[in-house]
Subunit: 536 residues, 2 copies
């Protein structure tokens, strides 16, 4: 049996090596249009900054190794220009020797990935100082430009993970960095509470952030960027990190069905609509494991998993892909930021609005052991308690808790299960009641509590002038909430001073941080008060 | 309703504070015989060493705070000496004022915990330099002894977690430390592969380890310990960490049913056999969540969880405790060692022998990003793939992966699910195919592979002299396995040199590390060889 794989970065080699383990006699060919396979794309920002000095280290497997260890025929600089499904053959352009030939296949795998999308900026096509970062060749080009031209100011278009990682890389190299982000917050897909912490960290390292702006045109002679509001910005280097699109023109030409977003349509066994043609990785649309909704496959870990699984499927295993949870982590200077499943941003993009959320800021390990820092942790769940996603930011212990939630999601656990998940405890690592346990308790309280809640904006004008607004924060704690309180009675004094609160008025608790407001409502309800918590 | 709680360290305060949130009008009394409640017992080794300098920091909640914030009546130095279930009352000895009084209850909770067990060592009862560590008073006594007597050599009896943590504490204080452990390995309940790594780390820090020995008697004048083999050891301070027993004499006297091991028998709602009497924490026997087998409840996290859950149950929630997974983590110098679920040691103690295991040593994060170190990771599962436990040791990322497995166990996931658990990937944190994914793949291979395996000890004598024993390790790699190979053909050369191997003899692969032997067997079987892998 002859297997041909188009694309050798992540899913392709994973498929090929697994297949070899399962079938010693298969003929396996990988066709890769670039100069290397098995590139650690996520490491490119660290290669650029010099944190990873060794270029060879970025290439996890060379064609020689795959030949020797796995008997796989890897062909670099091999651009597939056409597929003829009916004939089970393809046209390959060997760009190194500028030769074109035909290759046949019994089974074909498209692992063609995605490429950076260039935004519609006037004169961008003539800029010689604008870069993207997807391949090791891109990284080499950027390094060379910096070595020769010694740029001082760099503009980063797009404030997502890659933009922020590059901001750090350029900052490490001593450049002055400005991030220009079209939307109102950076660090997509994180929600605002998390993104704000990231933005603060970046500003602390002198990185400038311009949100709500995009670039309209370039003046390449003056090294100027004209923004959408007419202002200009000088930058002698430009990095574009505004998104990617799937590499599926080849598939489209072969009449392989695509979605509206240009992703290849596959079933749960990675079959396209064309016989003997499969697809995996960033080029496909799959389903979300949590909701079953269609979602593009992104990132290298799922691609790697899909490649391995497809090899099993192809040799006859009765497996089906169950979909992607979606999980990410980034190191932004001294912060770790991580998510699994859905953020609010993602839910809203999918039209899902019927969800609950909690936000807590416990310590990463026992507060009495040296070095404890707070983790900003957000959990999102549906009205039945099903976990939809989690995200966190902090200095340590962040990826650990998000990884745990990722496992919990895979096990279909819900918030009622979180208090029962055992986090190994010792003061340097965790707390007896650890972050995910607390998240569970707070989420359960929110789902089961009898106390009413209202959003500040929804409070009627007559209530605003007649009700009793109680601020229960302790002395010295910062204010929270937008509504001015009638009185401040710290929670610790509430039982003793409860008679100060009139019983004939509805009581609204203005302070919003932590579990305190729930405890206050319990105390007040226990004494017959009509209590409502104000939510943002 | 009047609730009385005996014991105020972990589960007791957790129960009391949760109950207060649920019932503003309840009368809640905690009776604690020692000088403090809510003590962070696990932090005591760090208090001793000075890593945590502040004694107050160890007490998470004072009686004053519980009174003010939660309206709970906490009575220290209050030793309950008798329970009369029929009258719903108890006798309390106020040891501070030497007064005795009777207290009534509507519902009684026993959270009496466990205490160190003293081994039967002659003259131990007369030693003034022997200590245990369970309470803050114990820690104070040890600190005082060190300050006054300046001991130089300390003997630690018992090489479990507490013994090793204390070894580090004493080492930090400049003492010469010897650990004496009765069994053949330290670091119980970890298995040998993990324990060996720990022992090596301890020896690197000049801690002496005597395994397979116990102390028979003391010569307190000479500061000598006589071991079971007649040899002696000089030590001017002794720490005893040889185990604990549940504090259940009070329960026994009240005709509360106990197990053979002296633990209180409770149902899934923490009810004892006596009406209106409940028990939680280290004093009880519960069930193991994975196997359903009876198991003592240990450690503070489960106690904390049980207290919270019982409060919900007592006010009418339809909850039941589903049992304990069991999870631990320790910092031993520069190592983190952690487990969840069963180790082999535990399984064998429970008479379970029908299990599988894999042992892998991947990097904690992408090998090409600075600072990558290897994690020794062991996964144990049953013949259907159900996860029974995991344990790991390494410098970083250990607790993260064990926490993930802990969540996976809670979700009843098995090894077939592990490749699908998404570990957020970025080079500083993980690998595209992360540790738990690899563990899943290797475990699945073991469950599904067709290749035969045999233990070295089970190979018949005539096979040893007639078969072909193939060592497939690459040049420069250390040898593994106890059987001398007929030839060394590195895996990378196996396809090219396969004709060197005679087809008329059975082939046994001697090298045991990693996935290589499985790959070699695939290659050989593909060419018609009769292949068997040798397992340890």
């Amino acid at each position: 049996m002859k297997y041909v794989i188009v694309g050798g970065i992540a899913g392709g080699p994973s498929f090929a090596t697994r297949l070899r383990r399962l079938d010693e006699t298969a003929e396996i060919i990988i066709l890769e249009r670039h100069s290397a396979i098995s590139v650690a794309s996520c490491a490119l920002p660290y290669y650029l900054s010099g944190v990873i000095p060794d270029r060879e280290a970025l290439i996890e497997r060379t064609p020689e190794i795959l030949k020797e260890k796995n008997n796989i025929d890897v062909r670099l600089f091999s651009n597939v220009t056409n597929i003829e499904p009916a004939k089970q053959q393809l046209t390959v352009h060997d760009t190194l020797n500028n030769e074109t030939y035909t290759e046949t296949y019994d089974e074909l795998l498209l692992a063609t990935g995605a490429s950076p999308t260039l935004p519609p900026i006037k004169n961008l096509d003539q800029a010689d100082n604008a870069f993207v970062l997807r391949t090791i060749d891109n990284a080499d080009a950027m390094k060379e430009f910096i070595d020769i031209n010694h740029p001082k100011r760099v503009a980063i278009l797009g404030g997502g993970a890659i933009g922020i990682e590059l901001a750090e890389s350029f900052n490490t190299l001593g450049l002055d960095v400005t991030i220009i982000e079209r939307s109102s917050t950076i660090a997509s897909p994180y929600d605002q509470e998390i993104a704000e912490v990231v933005a603060k960290e970046l500003r602390k390292h002198d990185i400038k952030i311009l949100t709500g702006h995009s670039v309209a045109s370039l003046d390449n002679d003056k090294h100027e960027l004209q923004l959408d509001d007419g202002t200009t910005l000088t930058a002698d280097m430009i990095f574009i990190g505004t998104g990617v699109h799937p590499n599926t023109q080849l598939a489209a030409n072969a009449k392989i069905a695509l979605t509206d977003t240009g992703h290849i349509v596959v079933n749960s066994r990675f079959q396209t609509n064309q016989p003997h043609i499969y697809a995996i990785g960033d080029a496909i649309e799959t389903i979300n494991y949590i909701t079953g909704l269609p979602t593009p496959s992104v990132l290298s870990s799922p691609a790697n998993r899909q490649g391995h699984l497809l090899a099993d499927i192809m040799v006859g295993a009765p497996f089906e892909y169950q979909g992607i949870v979606g999980a990410g982590v980034s190191k932004f200077f001294n912060l770790t930021v991580s998510y699994t499943g859905y953020t609010e941003v993602m839910l809203q993009a999918n039209g899902i609005t019927d969800y609950k959320k909690i936000f807590i800021t416990p310590y990463d390990h026992a507060y009495f052991y040296p070095g404890a820092t707070r983790v900003n942790f957000k959990l999102i769940f549906d009205t039945q308690g099903k976990i939809l996603g989690a995200q966190a930011v902090g200095k340590t212990g962040v990826d650990k808790r998000i990884s745990q939630i990722s496992a919990a999601i895979r096990g279909h656990l819900n918030v009622y299960d979180l208090p029962d998940i055992e986090v190994p405890y010792s003061p340097p690592y965790s707390s007896t009641r650890d972050i995910i346990n607390i998240a569970g308790y707070v989420a359960i309280n929110q789902l089961t509590r009898q106390v009413a809640t209202i959003k500040a904006a929804d409070i009627a004008a007559d209530i605003l002038t007649s009700a009793y607004f109680l601020d229960i924060r302790e002395p010295g704690r910062p204010e929270s909430g937008s509504i001015k309180a009638t009185a401040n009675i710290p929670l610790s004094q509430l039982r003793d001073r409860i008679t100060e609160i009139p019983k004939d008025k509805p009581v609204y608790i203005t302070y919003r941080a932590g579990i305190g407001p729930y405890n206050a409502s319990t105390i007040l309800k226990g004494q017959g008060y009509d209590v409502t918590l104000i939510e943002e």
